[in-house]
């Protein structure tokens, strides 16, 4: 092994930085899944009746399904009776009215994650809806947003305060019958984020949620619903971390985006769940259904994701291009190191005329990482002049990792133009040596080269998060060749 590889190997073994566990009393549902569990969750959340009915329908449907096995990821069977479906931090006196009322231990947890809410509130101008386990504990900036008529709150709150919006849009993009994990989520989702931007309003700040899975054996099933009404626009970022555990934790979220006429939604994810140790023990199973619906003409939905964590990442943020002249975009960086697996990509469904989509996927495999891009571009009969451009690049570090690309293209309209480009390359020893001869350490050199590889995607992230993503990539990559 050469020196560079050796140094990197040392670094790869560095511990997960966010692997601490907060000691907070939790109000938990008994382990296991049944109609009782669902009623328990719904009751705790003081939900309106229609929601409970919906959950139960989803549950009954889920019982008829089998867990899917068509992907390239491998994992032991999940025992769904061994999961705690609801875990809420016990609050001293019902819900907190402000940050001051929040459990200080909880706030310290956020500090450790590097997201001091107060600081963010004051300095960064980022409204954070922080989801700790299952209940949304702090929603900042709500007042300022409310002045614009924007609703930005936890899903439970939305269900109580804006039931008509929830009823109208929930499940309209990802139905509870969509797939196994979407059905499960619909039955047991604990909380999540709700956002509604009224017609013509440009959301004045980046909206952000930080997810963190804390309690042991607790799956996290959050649900996000974002609606941009006619001519509205919003940029939303989710960031994710989880404490270190030996057992695997399931994360099965559903995200639905709806863009009406001339509306724009930009959804960015920086995912840093615990990836498991270097032998593949523990880590998050991230099985998520994310879909956007460009429902109105000239609407636009962009997904940008930086996936560096999780034992398994399995998701395809997609766009339904229903409105004429609508635009869908997918920019992705997925990194797998050690024993991590990723099967991710997107689906672009062209229905309307002159719809356009762009896919840029950068996969990085290191250690024994397995990285698959899987994408579908489907142009339906009526989608005159649909355009798609896809570019899938894979970068390999070392010789025990693998990259796979599975592009599916279905075109039913002869006027469509679909382009697909793919490359696979290895990080060059020449490149490394060149940088080191200029005085850079091996790890800085790798980080720089990989960041260069991902630049196209990073520049799609909001500025402050692009910096975060670059750092994260550096940390996740440490020790990745040899």
């Amino acid at each position: 092994m050469n020196t560079a590889a050796h140094e990197l190997d040392t670094l790869i073994n560095r511990d997960y930085e966010y692997g601490f566990e907060s000691d907070i009393d939790s109000d938990m549902a008994p382990k296991g899944l049944s109609e009782e569990t669902i009623r328990f969750i719904s009751e705790r959340k003081q939900e309106p009746g229609f929601l409970l009915e919906w959950r139960l329908k989803a549950y009954r449907h889920w019982l008829t399904l089998k867990s899917p096995n068509w992907s390239s990821v491998h994992y032991p069977p999940i025992n769904f009776q061994d999961i705690i479906y609801y875990s809420a931090p016990k609050l001293r006196d019902n819900a907190p009215k402000s940050l001051e009322e929040i459990d200080p231990e909880l706030l310290r947890t956020y500090d450790k994650l590097g997201i001091p809410l107060k600081e963010q509130e004051l300095l960064a101008g980022v409204a954070v809806d922080a989801v700790f386990d299952s209940v949304s504990v702090a929603t900042t900036f709500k007042d300022r947003l409310a002045r614009e008529g924007i609703v930005f709150c936890s899903f439970s709150e939305a269900a109580r305060l804006h039931p008509e919006l929830v009823k109208q849009y929930m499940g309209s993009v990802v139905s509870y019958m969509d797939n196994f994990y979407a059905a499960l989520n619909s039955a047991v989702f604990s909380d999540g984020t709700f956002c509604y931007i009224p017609p013509g309003v440009k959301c004045p700040m980046e909206l952000s949620t930080y997810f963190r899975i804390n309690a042991k054996n607790s799956g996290q099933f959050e649900r996000t619903l974002i609606i941009a009404d006619k001519g509205a626009s919003v940029s939303y970022l989710e960031g994710c971390t989880a404490p270190m555990r030996d057992e695997n934790q399931l994360h099965a979220a559903v995200v639905e985006l709806i863009a009406l006429e001339d509306a724009q939604i930009r959804y960015s994810t920086v995912q840093n769940w615990y990836p498991g140790d270097k032998d593949g023990k523990g880590g998050i199973f991230n099985f998520v259904t994310k879909r956007g619906d460009c429902r109105g003409s000239r609407s636009r939905i962009s997904w940008t994701q930086v996936e560096t964590g999780s034992a398994i990442t399995w998701k395809y943020p997609s766009v339904i291009l229903r409105g004429d002249d609508s635009v869908g975009e997918f920019y992705s960086v997925a990194l797998t190191n050690n024993c991590q697996q990723a099967d991710t990509g997107t689906k672009m469904l062209h229905i309307g005329r002159n719809t356009r989509s762009t896919i840029v996927s950068k996969g990085i495999s290191a250690g024994r990482g397995q990285n698959a891009y899987r994408g579908l571009v489907k142009v339906l009969k009526g989608a005159e002049n649909a355009r798609n451009y896809s570019q899938c690049d894979s970068l390999l570090l070392g010789n025990r990792c693998a990259a796979h690309t599975f592009p599916y293209i279905e075109v039913k309209n002869p006027t469509a133009k679909v382009e697909h480009e793919a490359t696979t390359s290895r990080i060059g020893e020449d490149q490394l040596f060149y940088c080191m001869q200029r005085g850079l350490s091996a790890e800085d050199a790798v980080s720089m080269i990989v960041n260069g590889f991902c630049r196209e995607v990073f520049k799609k992230l909001p500025m402050e998060f692009a910096v975060e993503a670059q750092k994260l990539l550096g940390v996740s990559l440490e020790g990745s060749i040899g």
Partner: protein, 252 residues
């Protein structure tokens, strides 16, 4: 400054350098010439610390430190600079970003504060003029889509910024037209100073028309078979390497 003693280097089982002795003082310019495959580039790579070469015998002292014990990045930070024969492309990484990372790595090593963006840019622009390079190249990805001449200028730009104590120029003249050769040579000449040593590795005499060496060494089959003053290069130009190789062993 640089003391190479009985250096023997192999790649795998194959000996490439067979007992090199070389002594370079500050301020000197040495030219190492020789036919293809004689081991010239190997010598440069070993000095810079490239993996894949085994030193089977001998030692290299740089400012009285054992160079062979130092990792490549430490050699760089100590002031050894290699201008590559084939500079690599690094897609997506802006040239200026690498330059800044390099210069600050060096400064940090020297206990100096990092240069701020303004000072760095000013310094870089000054050095750009020295090598006649277009400023736009700073913002393009490292060497990507650069012409042969632009790549070599970029190497000299890096050298100018990093101000090495010992500069190794590996076939810097190859692939350059006469105008590019001139500007690159002027750049190198401008960097000549009493504290800096330069080793030129070249196949041809023509570089030495522009950069005048103090000493010329002829490397053939892994050995320095002849050393002399600048006139040696002229003789080589006239008579080729053949006469030396057949006359090997006869004192100069």
């Amino acid at each position: 400054m640089l003391e190479i003693r009985n250096l023997n280097v192999s790649i795998g089982d194959k000996p490439i350098l067979k007992g090199i002795d070389l002594h370079v003082k500050p301020g000197e310019i040495h030219a190492i010439m020789g036919p293809n495959g004689s081991g010239k580039s190997t010598l440069a790579q070993v000095l810079a610390g490239r993996e894949g070469y085994t030193v089977t015998e001998g030692e290299i002292l740089f400012e009285n430190k054992n160079l062979l014990e130092l990792a490549p990045e430490l050699r760089a930070r100590e002031g050894i600079f290699l201008a590559f024969q084939y500079p690599v492309e690094i897609p997506g990484v802006a040239n200026i970003y690498l330059l800044k990372a390099a210069i600050n790595a060096r400064r940090k090593h020297q206990g100096l504060p990092e240069l701020d963006a303004m000072d760095f840019l000013e310094l870089t622009k000054e050095k750009l003029r020295l090598v006649g390079m277009d400023e736009a190249l700073l913002y393009r990805p490292v060497n990507e889509g650069f012409s042969g001449g632009e790549k070599k200028r970029n190497e000299i730009l890096q050298m100018a910024l990093l101000e090495p104590k010992l500069a190794l120029l590996d076939e810097t003249d190859s692939g350059l037209d006469i105008d590019a050769l001139k500007t690159v040579s002027e750049g190198v000449n401008a960097l000549k100073n009493p504290d800096r040593a330069i080793i030129l590795i070249t196949h041809y005499q023509r570089l030495l028309d522009y950069i005048h060496p103090d000493r010329v060494h002829v490397l053939a089959n892994g050995r320095i078979i002849r050393s002399g003053g600048p006139e040696l290069a002229l003789t080589l130009e006239e008579r080729g390497y053949g006469w030396l190789e057949t006359a090997e062993g006869i004192p100069a």
